[in-house]
């Protein structure tokens, strides 16, 4: 590694020595900027699939008895006469969750922006290992392909919920989707984890070793802090999911009994003895909970950066922001049991997890207040990225607050696995992380493609999405509190819930509008690559190093020397300067003091 870093340190003319072919430039590229774009576009495609699925099952929930031509067209044999089958409903819910959590909000979000921004913002020519980076992307691509292929297997895709709790996921006789569909799901996820680990190790090594001169850890933009800590959490927790997946594969294919015991199904006793599904739950959530922070921390980093830049103000409480990221990261690894209060786990353990879980509210509250204070007395530039950042804080607060209820084991008894949970996590990690991702895309699109996104389309995209997000998930809390369980194909067998049917129709209408309106964004995204306005070098007047690189991408990022860093990343509107931003590579003036932030 040090040898590699060495070459980077003095190869100022590193760059166009060898001619690039189409394949090395666009397909098997080792350039972090191209890999970032590959992640983004693959993530976008997966996102479209995931959102389409949610629109389909929302229609099923709202109009359960009605045949639907869309189902007939898209689901084929799974929707005889256009009426959705109950098995495929569960499969849609399962794959929607898997795709959105892992493929869009982990790989699509973290993969894109860690790759794009880590080298550019710390002042490095590229990632520590361009080759590993390329392998990481192609493993992700392969796992995406396998996941998509799993949708077409004969007995149906995995349908045991994205948490794939055995025995349901382990026994093909328990459910059609637990046959070939589940095998492919597990293979896809195993490859995905390998990809994620390679990526994370690369990010960690790059941030530690390749910072440019002057870029101390306390001068790093918060984006980099967020990506760095995210990668650390990923390295700690993803291998545990891999082991859970491997053990499940063994139970499924080799007759071991890690998670299974005493099962009688379809008239026969199975041989499994001595395993426990609760063990799987522990292993799954040991990743599963940190995973939600793997999703949300990068979004927090992006939002912090964008808010500071567009408020023309330093981020408030830089050190507190770093401390809260560290606190969240630490706590995130010791709270997984709050998913298992009523799993049969010892109630005393439940008490411990309630305690640690509610503690997370403290660093989260600090972050929220710091963002709000960053806006105070700012000079807010309402670019689309800024709108999505403000929207992020709004949904993060709304969704985060209900975590106080769910994290409280006594209250969880009655809302566990109801729509209350669905509403909570969609707002706090689904919508919020998506907003963070959109904010990042609107903000760094000029850096990625050298073109500008159309701002008016961005405004329309944001406002309709914002209204729909609340329209979908706010009322959803209330049907959850009324006791409606999630993952029900239809509620018509429960007259008890008849008076909630109209709420479900309202939710679905908002969901459909919210889904369809993303076409505006997709149109904006893809057409701007070709027809967008040419970007200037630093369109948002930001201080970070990526805006000192030329608009045209080049291998090695800077044509001359790598800039040295003389100040932190948030010298916006600093007194004593004519302009309202001072880039990190500008030396301190005579007598100017670097803020003791």
């Amino acid at each position: 590694m040090s040898a590699h870093a060495d070459t980077h340190a003095h190869d100022d003319d590193h760059g166009h020595h060898h001619k690039e072919t189409f394949v090395t430039k666009y397909i098997f590229s080792q350039d972090h900027k191209m890999i970032a774009k590959q992640y983004l576009i693959t993530g976008t495609i997966m996102g479209v699939i995931g959102v389409l699925m949610s629109m389909m099952f929302r229609m099923q929930i709202a109009w359960p008895e009605e045949p639907n031509v869309l189902f007939e067209a898209l689901l084929g044999k799974w929707a005889p006469d256009g009426v959705m089958d109950a098995d495929i409903y569960l499969a849609l819910v399962t794959i929607h969750g898997t795709i959105m959590v892992f493929f869009v909000l982990t790989a699509g979000l973290s993969g894109t922006f860690s790759n794009l921004l880590i080298p550019l913002q710390i002042g490095a020519r590229d990632m520590a290992s361009g080759f590993l980076n390329m392998v990481s992307y192609w493993l992700f691509f392969l796992s995406s392909v396998i996941m998509v292929i799993s949708l077409f297997v004969e007995a149906g895709p995995a349908a045991a919920g994205w948490t794939i709790y055995p025995p349901l996921s382990a026994l093909p006789m328990a459910q059609g989707g637990s046959g070939m569909g589940m095998t492919l799901w597990l293979v896809s996820m195993a490859i995905f984890i390998a990809s994620s680990l390679l990526g994370s190790l690369n990010y960690i090594v790059t941030v530690i070793n390749l910072r440019t001169k002057g870029m101390s850890m306390t001068r790093l933009p918060l984006t980099i802090w967020a990506f760095f800590i995210t990668a650390v959490i990923g390295v700690i927790s993803f291998p545990v999911l891999l082991s859970a997946a491997l053990l499940l594969i063994m139970d499924r294919s080799f007759g071991t009994s890690f998670f299974l015991s005493d099962i009688f199904i379809q008239g026969e006793v199975l041989h499994y003895q001595g395993g426990s599904p609760v063990l799987f739950e522990h292993l799954f959530w040991f990743l599963g909970h940190p995973e939600v922070y793997i999703v949300i921390l990068p979004a927090m980093g992006l939002v912090s950066e964008i808010m500071a830049s567009n408020s023309r103000k330093p981020i408030f409480g830089y050190r507190a922001m770093i401390a809260s990221i560290l606190a969240i990261a630490f706590l995130s690894t010791i709270v997984w049991g709050h998913h298992m209060f009523i799993s049969g786990m010892n109630p005393f353990l439940g008490s411990v997890f309630t305690f640690t879980t509610l503690l997370i509210a403290i660093p989260s509250a600090v972050k929220a207040f710091n963002w709000i204070t960053t806006l105070w007395k700012g000079n807010l530039q309402m670019n689309p990225a800024m709108l999505f950042s403000i929207g992020f804080v709004s949904t993060f607060i709304t969704g985060g607050l209900t975590g106080i209820i769910l994290g409280d084991s006594a209250l969880d008894i009655n809302v566990h696995d109801t729509y209350f949970v669905v509403a909570h996590f969609h707002l706090v990690m689904g919508i919020s992380a998506l907003y963070g991702m959109f904010a990042g895309i609107y903000h760094w699109y000029p850096k990625m493609f050298g073109k500008m996104l159309n701002k008016n389309l961005g405004y329309i995209h944001f406002w309709i999405t914002a209204v729909c997000a609340y329209g979908v998930f706010f009322p959803m809390h209330f049907i959850g509190m009324a006791g409606l369980p999630r993952r029900y194909y239809t509620n018509s067998n429960f007259p008890l819930f008849d008076d909630l049917a109209n709420v479900n129709v309202i939710i679905t209408i908002f969901a459909l509008i919210g889904g369809v309106v993303q076409i505006i964004y997709l149109y904006n995204f893809f057409s701007s690559i070709f027809f967008g306005k040419k970007a200037t070098q630093n369109p948002w007047k930001s201080t970070t190093l990526e805006w000192t690189t030329p608009v045209e991408h080049m291998h090695g990022n800077w044509p001359g020397d790598i800039p040295h860093v003389h100040r932190w990343a948030y010298d916006y509107s600093k007194p004593g300067h004519d302009v309202d931003f001072v880039p990190q590579n500008i030396p301190l003036k005579d007598g100017e003091e670097e803020l003791q932030h």
Binding site: A174, P277, R319, G344, V366, G378, I397, I404, V415
Partner: protein, 355 residues
Amino acid sequence: MTALLTIIVLVFILVAIWQMVKIFDLAQAKNENSQVATDKDNTMNAYLMMGFLAFIYIITIVCFVKWGDLPLMSNSASAHGPTIDNLMIISMVIIFIVQTITQFLLHYFAYKYKGEKGKKALFFADNNKLEAIWTIIPVIVLAGLIIYGLNTWINIMGVDESDDPLVIELYAQQFNWKARYSGADNTLGKANVRLIDIDRANILGLDEADPNAQDDVITTELHLPVGKPVLFKMRSQDVLHSAYMPHFRAQMNCVPGMITQFGFTPTVTTADMRETAQIKEKVKRINDIRVEKSKPLLEKGEDPLEPYDFDYLLLCNKICGKSHYNMQMKIVVETQEEYDAWIKEQKAFKNSLIN
């Protein structure tokens, strides 16, 4: 069909928006940074922020007024129910206050400090006092919630054997529930799925040699005597299920290979619950909806939906396969005399076997 029409209308709206944006773009000055927000954009979005704040408040009020009449907030039917409901209400009030204030500050600042050319933001990077305040306040509030919550949790989950609870097994399988009463000895007989013998109608795998098993009673409806503590022992024969009894604020997973437990004391009989004003109103509302839904069925010559009357329910609340959405059991809470009469009519295990 409704869905398709909705989508077509949406697509048309999109096309219209797209055209409008194009016109808007063409009308704009062709300067270099035309895709960066101008003062006009800042002002427009600042006003929209205030509009959005109003939207959040309105949707909150509408939800509470229209759907805030929740089983979770009142009329629980178990002894521990009110403690959960109180904690819930306290948490909700705290959440409501924090939500109202922080959303106001966020959107109001976004409105108030909208960007203007020539304005300079305040260079305000740090303030230890402020940060200490908003670290300490959450710490105090959460400490209170944690102590209160844990206290409630321990009281609910701790089973007091000296109460001599009625022991009942809840048995889950794809896709129905069975209840096993422990009989006069109040001890459940030993059981394992390996002992299931469908031909002999030993469907729960009871140990036929165990004397405790002889007087066990297996039923498909759950009857509970009011005011008597019940201790449920949960078992599943195939996959994970979750025994969810929302009216009693009770839930516990059923895990193959292990026995889980949950205890509570039902406090309101089904008959009494049906007479409460809240349930009467709910039943009426549901029946109005069912009459409405029956109209098209009658036109087609099909049977109308049956009128609804309130019953306590046990639902499955852990994804368990295709018919997860229809895995339920009726719960009847009744007086001790009614319960005694009912249980007397049920067959004891030793008499239910086919030889």
